[in-house]
């Protein structure tokens, strides 16, 4: 606990907890919220935008790391040479036998169709 308080004080002093300039403005934030298919209340939006900007401050550390241009991108930590990977199975359809159970989870169905409200669309020409 002591450590946490010490670090918290330092973060505050160093500007991690109180970002000087917000990288994500209210306008950009609203755009992200729209893209993410979310809707936020005022308090929630304020909290989340604040945390987002604080996290970006912490991420800025990445920019200071010396990285050689040829450093590979590691999509997994463990390298996956062919002898560790399972062989690809034959590409053919296999019935799960679970379609009834899966359909039963849908909030609204009609027969074996999943029902959704009006899908927004524009008439062409």
């Amino acid at each position: 606990m002591r450590w946490i308080l010490i670090i918290a004080e330092r973060f505050e002093r160093d500007g991690i907890l109180t970002p000087m300039a917000d990288q994500i403005s209210p306008e950009l934030f609203d755009h992200l919220v729209e893209l993410a298919s979310l809707e936020l209340t005022g308090d929630e939006a304020e909290y989340l935008r604040g945390e987002l900007n604080r996290q970006l401050k912490a991420i800025e550390e990445l920019a200071a790391i010396p990285i050689l241009g040829n450093t590979p991108l590691a999509r997994h930590g463990v390298s996956y040479p062919a002898d560790l990977r399972p062989a690809m199975r034959e590409d053919h359809a296999e019935a799960s036998g679970l379609s009834d159970e899966i359909l039963a989870q849908a909030p609204e169905t009609e027969g074996r169709y999943v029902v959704v409200p009006e899908i927004p669309h524009e008439e062409l020409g």
Binding site: M1, R2, W3, I4, I6, I7, R10, F11, D14, G15, I16, L17, F29, L32, V33, L35, A36, S37, L38, E39, L40, E44, L48, E51, L52, R54, Q55, K57, A58, I59, E60, E61, L62, A63, A64, I65, I67, T71, L73, A74, R75, H76, G77, V78, Y80, D83, L84, R85, P86, R89, L98, I102, A106, P107, E108, V116, P117, E118, I119, P120
Partner: protein, 530 residues
């Protein structure tokens, strides 16, 4: 005499397999402990405040468990092999699917989801004779280090001090095992989510090599980082449990086709001649000072640093060679890289929750499909998933991905390179394992950190490098601090070196068996007795 539920898993299985004890008796004992120690299970919109119980559970599957225990007993009566975990009660973090059982991920958005299939690691624990008690609580979608973010309240508390968090995200798992509510639990570790709660609750937790255990049936967070792993009260139990769940799986293309050794076979071989490293890069917590542009650091709490030194001394006395000053210079960059990689993967994985196919759907009247998505996701997700979605979308956007995502993946290469160098069998260090603190602090009070997402994430600084690199790491109980809170140390090894980590862990455990702290019990259990 201890209650049956306090016996090690391997001892319970031995007695049950030998006919000394029935699986149903073992189950009764575990259920009695749940009733006495757990209190109310977490529920949607439940109360947050409760000061004396563990609250590990979301869903108790008592009827199912009784059926399984009876099956084990019937096999024994018929002279059939009931499996190495015969009759051992275990719990499952509610991020795995089990056929016919709610799979909530601690989130309102999955609060009504009953899985039509069972996750591979759960299926394998049951095939080994294990008896599932139920599903235990976690941070919502595993996003946290304290369990406070679960939509199911009350959230789990630390059995050593219920005013403190159990850690997270596998907090329900660690709390249940520490309290005797099942001898084993199945958790997941994406940045430390098995090891950190294991350290906070005084139990053993292992994050296996990425690909050692199938992720089929695991509700995904960071798909390149997630590792299922067992939580146990001792090293042998963790080894037996990992044996049961590890190995290739045709349903997960990242489950490696590497043979699984018998982890229990070499447990008692000792550490003579093994090379165990200590690194100054794990003796501190580092963070970036934006004013000076310098990386600054703080030492670990003295009691935690002392526990690491004590573990090193103990292993040295047993004949291990301690290699000091091992450089792992990119350790400090684990958290910033994780902030990027995990958010991008989380955002991608969370797009599927939309109120159409399964899970929660808004009851509000909506005009069109887009509004259905927005309202469903707004009502269904708590603030932590929302934050990860927004961050993941921002840092992976075309104009920023060079600056953030690609750079983070390169940093992951550098972290991997640190480990490759020190574990290289022909290199300068030739380590069998690295020894370090699991966490920079012991369990913190409920409410002390929650809400501050940057500070919460830094709790993972010592555990996240192993996730970036994919290498295995085990957290072991290593003492209690002056407030009687558990301290954990971890051993990190090279790819697929779990057998060596168990062996070193067991040697440390055996050598410290007589130390006074080993006889201490979580306060929740003392209160039951007295």
């Amino acid at each position: 005499m201890p209650d049956l539920c306090d016996l090690p898993a391997h001892e319970l299985a031995r007695r049950i397999r030998g006919g000394e004890l029935s699986a149903s008796d073992a189950l009764d004992s575990a259920l009695a402990r749940v009733r006495a120690a757990d209190g109310d299970p977490g529920r949607l919109d439940g109360p947050r405040d409760d000061g004396s119980k563990v609250h590990a559970f979301i869903t108790l599957t008592e009827t199912r468990a009784r059926g399984q225990a009876k099956q084990v007993d019937a096999k024994i009566a018929a002279g059939e092999d009931p499996g190495p975990l015969a009759g051992v009660p275990f719990t499952v973090k509610d991020i795995f699917t089990v056929e016919g059982v709610l799979a909530t991920a601690g989130s309102r958005i999955l609060s009504n989801f009953v899985s039509p299939y069972t996750a591979t690691p759960v299926e394998r624990l049951e095939a080994a004779g294990g008896v599932m008690l139920g599903k235990v609580n976690l941070d919502e979608f595993t996003y946290g280090s304290s369990n406070e973010s679960s939509a199911y309240q009350p959230a789990p508390r630390n059995p050593w001090d219920p005013s403190r968090v159990p850690g997270g995200s596998s907090g329900g798992s660690a709390a249940a095992v520490a309290a005797g509510e099942g001898a084993l639990s199945l958790g997941t570790d994406t940045a430390g989510s098995v090891r950190q709660p294991a350290a906070f609750c005084g139990v053993v937790g292992i994050k296996p090599t990425y690909g050692r255990v199938s992720r089929y049936g695991l509700i995904a967070f960071g798909s390149s980082l997630d590792c299922p792993g067992p939580v146990a009260r001792n090293v042998r139990d963790a080894a037996v449990a990992l044996n049961a769940i590890a190995g290739p799986d045709p349903r997960d293309s990242t489950a490696a086709v590497v043979p699984v050794p018998d982890y229990a076979a070499e447990l008692e071989k000792g550490v003579k001649g093994l090379r165990i490293g200590l690194s100054p890069d794990y003796d501190k917590i580092s963070y970036f000072n934006h004013e000076t542009g310098e990386l600054e650091s703080r030492p670990l709490l003295a009691e935690i640093a002392a526990a690491v030194v004590h573990a090193a001394d103990t292993l040295a006395n047993l004949g291990a060679e301690i290699v000091e000053a091992v450089p792992l210079p990119h350790t400090a960059y684990g958290i910033p890289a994780y902030f990027v990689i995990s958010r991008v993967e989380a955002a991608s994985n969370l797009h599927r929750y939309d109120g159409v196919k399964y899970g929660y759907r808004t009851n509000a009247k909506v005009e069109d499909l887009r509004e259905l998505y927005r309202k469903t996701r707004a009502e269904g997700f708590g603030s932590q998933p929302k934050l990860r979605i927004l961050m993941g979308m921002y840092v992976s956007a075309a104009q920023y991905s060079e600056q953030y995502y690609r750079r983070a993946l390169q940093v992951r290469s550098l972290i991997r390179g640190d480990f490759d160098l020190v574990f290289d069998s022909k290199g300068k260090f030739q380590l069998d394992a690295l020894l370090a603190a699991t966490t920079p602090t012991t369990a913190f009070p409920v409410g002390a950190v929650y809400g501050d997402t940057v500070l919460m994430q830094y709790a993972d600084q010592l555990t996240v490098p192993a996730n970036h690199a994919g290498v295995p790491a085990i957290s072991l109980p290593a003492g209690l601090n002056s407030e009687r809170l558990p301290i954990g140390v971890q051993l990190i090894g090279t790819d697929f070196s779990e057998a060596a980590l168990f062996r070193i862990g067991r040697a440390f455990e055996a050598a410290t068996e007589a130390e006074a702290w080993r006889r201490e019990k979580p306060s929740v259990l003392e209160n039951l007795a007295g």
